[in-house]
């Protein structure tokens, strides 16, 4: 067994840790298992950040390659997935920076806004908002709405609420403090809620016929 991975009690070793150990020893099939397990999630997270499919494809490749090259640095005291997500988030931000011709992009960008810190539109939603729109129209509404959030809010919402990471894992993946994650999550949720109210509030059925404007 490799020496640098600290397994905290042999009974508690996550299966990923064993795969990482094997991959470090040159077992490509073990690494392939890790890729299979997480490529979908890494793709989704990357696309949420870069908002472009071709860039997300590149990020997925670069993130796994970087993970492979850095396997020796994986300490095993966090989940492999959390570690991988951190690499993917950094690769995504680098990709955004390239697209914006070198301008620095960080997950702290535009997070100082006061928008959405208090709900303003308090209209209740239709009891079944999803019945107001067709499947593809709904997907477009959701995409447009989430794309309108600052990247630093968007990524917190995606990791925590969509991908189901814990607050601690989200903080670790993004290099943020737990209070910062909590505060961004609240703002992201409230902003999304507010923006979706426009489409889902009671009495929007007639407008839904006009499609997404």
């Amino acid at each position: 067994m490799s020496s640098s991975i600290q397994s905290q009690g042999t009974a508690e070793v996550h299966p990923d840790v064993l795969l990482v150990e094997r991959a470090r020893g040159g077992d490509m099939a073990a690494f392939e298992k890790l890729v299979r397990q997480y490529e979908r999630q890494v793709f989704r997270i990357s696309q949420h950040i870069v908002q472009n499919r071709e860039d997300a494809e590149d990020v997925v490749q670069d993130a796994f390659l970087k993970a492979y090259e850095k396997l020796d640095q994986f300490q095993g005291n966090s989940k492999f997935y959390t570690w991988l997500v951190r690499i993917a988030v950094n690769e995504s931000l680098m990709r955004l920076r390239k697209r914006r011709t070198g301008r620095m992009v960080s997950i702290d960008e535009d997070v100082e806004t006061e928008e959405g810190s208090m709900p303003r539109d308090l209209a209740d939603w239709s009891p079944d908002p999803e019945s107001l729109y067709g499947q593809s129209e709904m997907a477009e509404i959701l995409r447009k709405t989430i794309q309108g959030l600052p990247p630093g809010f968007r990524v917190v919402f995606v990791l925590r609420d969509v991908e189901g990471l814990s607050t601690e894992e989200t903080a670790e993946s993004l290099g943020l403090s737990i209070p910062a994650v909590k505060s961004r999550l609240l703002r992201a949720r409230l902003q999304l809620r507010e923006r979706l109210t426009r489409y889902f509030k009671k009495g929007t059925r007639a407008k839904a016929q006009d499609g997404v404007k």
């Binding site: 890729v35 308090l122 939603w125 909590k182 809620r193």
Partner: protein, 79 residues
Amino acid sequence: MTCTEFLQKLDEMLDPEVAGPLRAELQQHLHCCEHCEITLNTTRKTIEIYRKHELYELPDELRERLHEAILAKCKGCSK
């Protein structure tokens, strides 16, 4: 409890595992504040909807292509 205080604890309210005095206090605020009740319910629905609709699915064909490319690159690199 004010609405601002309630909002600060919204995450706890959305977490079914949070129980005890805090939840009771939050529930008490909800009984007398329709605005916060709407905010809570529509926020919960926002999360549910985003979780349910996979916006960026990875099609099988692309997945295979990416998968092959990743493994080829890793095999070619010196770890």
